[in-house]
């Protein structure tokens, strides 16, 4: 079982931008009820892509600078980073197949 890991401002560069493996960051906040409802889907994806993509969660309330840096103004937002660059930005609820398609494209590209 692979679970998404919490990331914060201090560790963002090291854990997200400077890693070899593509990283999917789930931008969320405790007051965003709907974000809680996508969590089980992100958990499932974390399992399915174990060893290929690392999954992280970023609390936008505690880390506003990071949210700002990547223009996150709507949550849930999922951003896929590859070689330090955001390659896919998914705003709001998306069906799981669409999320998978985006992850697969990011992996292939």
């Amino acid at each position: 079982m692979s679970k998404p890991v919490e990331v914060n401002e201090a560790k963002f560069d090291e854990m997200v931008l400077k890693t070899k493996m593509p990283v999917l960051v789930d931008f969320w906040a405790p007051w965003c009820g709907p974000c809680r409802m996508v969590a089980p889907i992100v958990d499932e994806l974390a399992n399915e892509y174990e060893g290929k993509v690392s999954f992280m969660k970023l609390n936008v309330d505690d880390n506003p600078k990071i949210a700002n840096r990547f223009g996150v103004m709507s949550i849930p937002t999922l951003i896929i980073f590859k070689n330090g660059q955001p390659v896919s930005n998914l705003v709001g609820f998306r069906p799981k197949p669409e999320l998978k398609k985006n992850i697969d494209t990011a992996l292939a590209g």
């Binding site: 906040a29 007051w31 709907p34 709507s74 930005n89 609820f93 799981k96």
Partner: protein, 308 residues
């Protein structure tokens, strides 16, 4: 999928209050039950910070808490949940083949509870600025507009709910409606009118959403005078109604003029063994309690169909 498709007594499509209620009933009736949800369990009501009219909650309950509890309750009775999108239903004799990108599932009875999807405004700038100032969920995004000026577009309960929610954060909230009266229920209208922080622009339509990297203004037209104007805003919350999510059912089931599924009072559709519940059904009252009631009716009749 190479292995043979999994079989269920009942497959429920859609994880909002109608589907969850149906799941509680079918799973508790010891029918093997699968719920397929394409995005997030809970349906449209998870956008509501507070549900005040669901019986039993004197002080209201958030849409998320209510539907999470329904989901736990259904899973306790044995409901399985699959996160995937149903792309079609095929009939094979008495069996229904429910098709998803990850493979087929076979069932004897199906309850379609896919609800309705928020409609887009359909103006230039809307798609480009989604997540950059354009939003469809005030409880998700309201906090990003702290001390900023926002507009809500629409005149129904969803629009009023969004406007009230946004007053917690925004410095200014303007409700823009194309008519001169609201469709929202009386109690919602009273709350809206009582809130001095909300201004209403009647008889006004949005022509375009403009911005640089983020939304900074919208172009409006007064439908009475035909005068055009621009308004500086940071956030545009769209709540202009919803559409039954029946695209994949055209040609299979009888739909009404707006695309909702036609049922009888047992919630049977035009195909035996396929039932419909909640906002996706023609004539739905579009309330959580109605959806939950529908789920129970469809589930009990699906049970009778299976034993009949």
């Amino acid at each position: 999928m190479s292995e043979s498709p999994k079989k269920y007594d009942v497959i429920i499509i859609g994880g909002g209050p109608a589907g969850l209620s149906a799941g509680i009933y079918t799973a508790r009736a010891r029918l093997s039950s699968l719920l397929i949800e394409k995005a997030a369990v809970g349906g449209q009501i998870i956008n509501a910070g507070m549900v005040e009219n669901y019986p039993g909650y004197t002080n209201g309950i958030s849409g998320v808490e209510l539907t999470q509890a329904m989901h736990r309750q259904a899973e306790k009775f044995g409901l399985e949940t699959l996160y995937d999108e149903v792309i079609g239903i095929e009939l094979n004799g008495k069996q229904k083949v429910v098709k998803t990108p990850q493979g087929d599932f076979i069932t004897k009875a199906t309850i379609i509870a896919g609800g309705a999807e928020r409609q887009k405004l359909g103006v230039p700038g809307e798609v480009e600025f989604t997540g950059k100032g354009v939003s469809y969920c005030a409880t998700c995004d309201g906090a990003f507009f702290r001390d900023k000026s926002v507009v809500v577009i629409g005149g129904g309960n969803a629009a009023v709910t969004e406007a009230l929610e946004l007053t917690k954060f925004a410095s200014k909230v303007i409700l823009i409606h194309r008519r001169h009266e609201l469709r929202a229920t009386k109690i919602m209208q009273e709350k809206l009118m009582a809130d001095k922080r909300i201004q209403i622009l009647w008889d006004t339509v949005v022509l375009e959403i403009l911005g640089d990297k983020l939304v900074n203004k919208i172009k409006l037209r007064d439908v009475v005078t035909n005068k055009e104007s621009t308004l500086e805003v940071s956030g545009v919350f769209v709540a202009v109604g919803s559409q039954p999510a029946t695209g994949y059912l055209k040609g299979l089931l009888t739909l009404d003029a707006v695309g909702a599924i036609v049922t009888n009072d047992r919630l049977e559709t035009s195909v035996p063994g396929i039932f419909a519940a909640g906002d996706i059904r023609s004539g739905s009252i579009r309330q959580v309690v109605g959806a939950a009631g529908d789920g129970a009716v469809a589930a009990i009749n699906a049970g009778k169909f299976l034993s009949g």
